[in-house]
């Protein structure tokens, strides 16, 4: 048998342990498929004594993860420490600098430093791979880099955060409110103790910026993603959406045109006829629209140790086979720097929900603001008083410029008729 591909692994949390368990379990099959065995030879983690349910004494133990970059005999370093900078980034730089390939599940680091790392990898003919960084086990990086490579991609979008989708689809199924479901998700381990990266959309934005770069051949531009999370979605929004034939989903969505690169994470109304409307629980799903292939959908488990380990080891198999090239499909220096587009220029349909005082004239005030801003209303629902006496008004607009809706909301800002912030969601078209 050919020489094994030898791996040094940094980070032994659930994903790191999952990678070892996967290679232990499927090793023989992997060797057949990869043409050579994949073998972990060294590991590094904060706590050596922790019981991970796996015999770790087989591996060389290194206290400082950065030292794995110089681990004798290792061909590849796998980084599962996390964090956009710090030890993860130090390890990435050291590994590529030392002439070893690098695999990571670290979306934050790739979103922020992917371009620099890709340059380093390409310059040294090494692999830099990050399939696990987006949509967990779903091979969507590969799907864009290779599967859809013949296409000009007009748009890429999807459900990129499993925690948010778990919460939204549970709110939908049970009619309960956000805070309530969030605490349950935290109790069950589906949401972090500090859930803000997930529910405020930052995690989805990291992933979106990686997808956009692959899809459009543009430089990664995380800072240009506009981000709104799901904190302010209420049960009534989901009920209104359902009554209109929509499901509420947190979507990351990107396109690139003459106006520049558009990247947004925002709650959307998704028509029931769209496959993303049927994605429930912590599943992730990504759609890419190509000028020849049409609409491609990739769907599966977006997180968890098994799916993430599956993606990490898929990257290792590509490396073992020698089937890899520029991480962003084209050389990093060929990626185009594109300015962020102006979202006000975008056209679409919108859902806007107001929480208003239960008194005469409120509806007239909202309707006038919409009219004055040039927003054409397709439907308007007013629902009876909440326990606190406030009333919900939900509007669906005809297709029109986003600028007009923003304008109308600007006019209404500070109005004493509103008892809370309006909720604006885009309707996926």
């Amino acid at each position: 048998m050919t020489e094994p591909l030898r791996v040094a692994l940094a980070g032994l949390g659930t994903v790191g342990a999952g990678v070892i368990r996967l290679i232990d379990t499927n090793g023989a099959l992997i060797a057949r498929r990869a043409g050579r065995p994949i073998e972990v030879i060294a590991v590094s983690a904060r706590d050596r004594s922790k019981d991970r349910g796996i015999d770790m004494n087989r591996f060389a133990w290194v206290d400082d993860p950065t030292e794995l970059a110089r681990q004798a005999g290792a061909d590849v370093v796998v980084e599962l420490i996390g964090g956009s900078d710090g030890p993860a980034l130090a390890l990435a730089r050291a590994t590529l600098g030392a002439g070893k390939s690098f695999v990571t599940a670290n979306k934050a680091m790739i979103a922020h430093h992917g371009l620099e790392l890709a340059r380093a990898a390409e310059g040294a003919n090494l692999a830099l791979k990050f399939e696990a960084a987006v949509a967990g086990g779903v091979p969507v990086i590969k799907g864009l880099r290779e599967g859809a490579a013949a296409n000009e991609i007009s748009r890429v979008y999807g459900i990129l955060n499993g925690t948010c989708n778990f919460i939204l689809s549970k709110m939908e199924a049970e009619g309960r409110d956000f805070a309530d479901i969030l605490s349950e998700a935290q109790r069950l381990g589906f949401a972090e103790a500090d859930p803000s990266f997930d529910i405020d959309g930052v995690d989805a934005a990291h992933k979106l910026s990686i997808l956009a770069s692959l899809a459009f051949g543009t430089r990664p531009a995380f800072d240009d993603v506009t981000i709104t999370g799901i904190r302010h979605v209420i049960a009534a929004d989901i009920a209104e959406a359902a009554s209109l034939g929509y499901r509420v989903r947190l979507l990351g969505i990107a396109d690139a045109g003459a106006g520049g690169l558009f990247q947004r994470v925002h709650p959307h109304l998704v028509p029931e006829s769209h496959p993303l409307a049927h994605v429930t629980g912590s599943t992730n799903a990504v759609v890419a629209e190509g000028n020849f292939v049409g609409r491609l959908l990739f769907q599966g488990a977006g997180a968890g140790d098994g799916p993430t380990a599956s993606a990490v080891v898929a990257d290792l198999i590509d490396i073992a086979r020698g089937e890899f090239g520029p991480p962003y499909a084209m050389p990093a220096d060929a990626l185009a720097a594109q300015p962020a587009s102006d979202s006000g220029e975008r056209r679409g349909r919108a859902y806007v929900r107001f929480t208003v005082a239960d008194r005469v004239g409120v509806l007239a005030e909202i309707a006038a603001a919409m009219r004055d801003a040039g927003v054409s209303i397709e439907s308007l629902m007013q629902r009876g008083a909440n326990p606190d006496g406030s009333v919900l008004v939900a509007i669906v607009t005809h297709e029109g410029p986003e600028r007009a809706v923003a304008h109308a909301l600007e006019k209404l800002r500070g109005s004493s008729s509103l008892t809370g912030e309006p909720m604006w969601m885009h309707i996926l078209g």
Copy 2:
């Protein structure tokens, strides 16, 4: 710029013309992504004078497609002639024999001769690629060969024939019968003049046998696929299924276990909670279940010139990048010969619909046959007389061995109570 990848193309039907149009349209982008241009240099087709809306004078014209294998300067031959044997197979053998790589969309040829061709390609370090042979533009060959490569796959299944799914989902939406929709589909060009390869399940079986080989590391075994098409599905079956919370879909489904390799194409009842229930029209979708990744879904356009051309050119890009290896993920000689499993040993739930005479005792006869065969009935619906006086009886069984259902149907064979063949569909579990 590096040397182009030079392509000789056999077959200028809609897909062949689509490949040329794609390279014409997206050529600059493809060159950036592939690291070098992809250039068609020679073509062959039956009718040279036919207007394909594309300038063909740029290309060397070859009357005998087999001669493309010896085309000076060509690195790759793309075969879009079709047919499991004949000129397509002769060209494949000649191409690999002449030291050129080979790309095809020909599912019938790969299902029958894939192993032989893979051996020839591997022996000469050439690429043999057939992404377009399964699910059109959807990169599911790549998804199994690479994306899910770290997993033991327990089951692969999906909607593999767009014509059948178009017909079934239209029957579902409009309550019309099979023959009626089929003629409409033929008129619209969604079904062939001779539709039997599609509607009798042979096309899906070709694709299934390719997927099974990739998923399980087993030798392609098309002859072991058991095949039932959709000809005998009636509108009432779809209505009954809907009333029970199911959609009728033609599924190809394969698994590999101790009992051998199981491969079947058959109409199924798919629960509404399953993503395949929401795949309508001519869309294809494939699910692979892995021991670490869980359930992966790949979905998109299963046919048409644009999507098929997209898959063909994706294969060419892989070749241009030098990112290819054994076509079946592992060397052809490492694929295991596995016997076909005995479907009688399988367990599952079933839907069985009888068309019966409207007279006393018929229900008792059916119920007795089920009881005597040991089939446990979960629900039974009898619906009023058809225009011809016959009555429908639809049964859903509890989970049990398929052998028992087969036994019950055997007992009822030839009974004067039945006015037509019973329809047996499996329920996807």
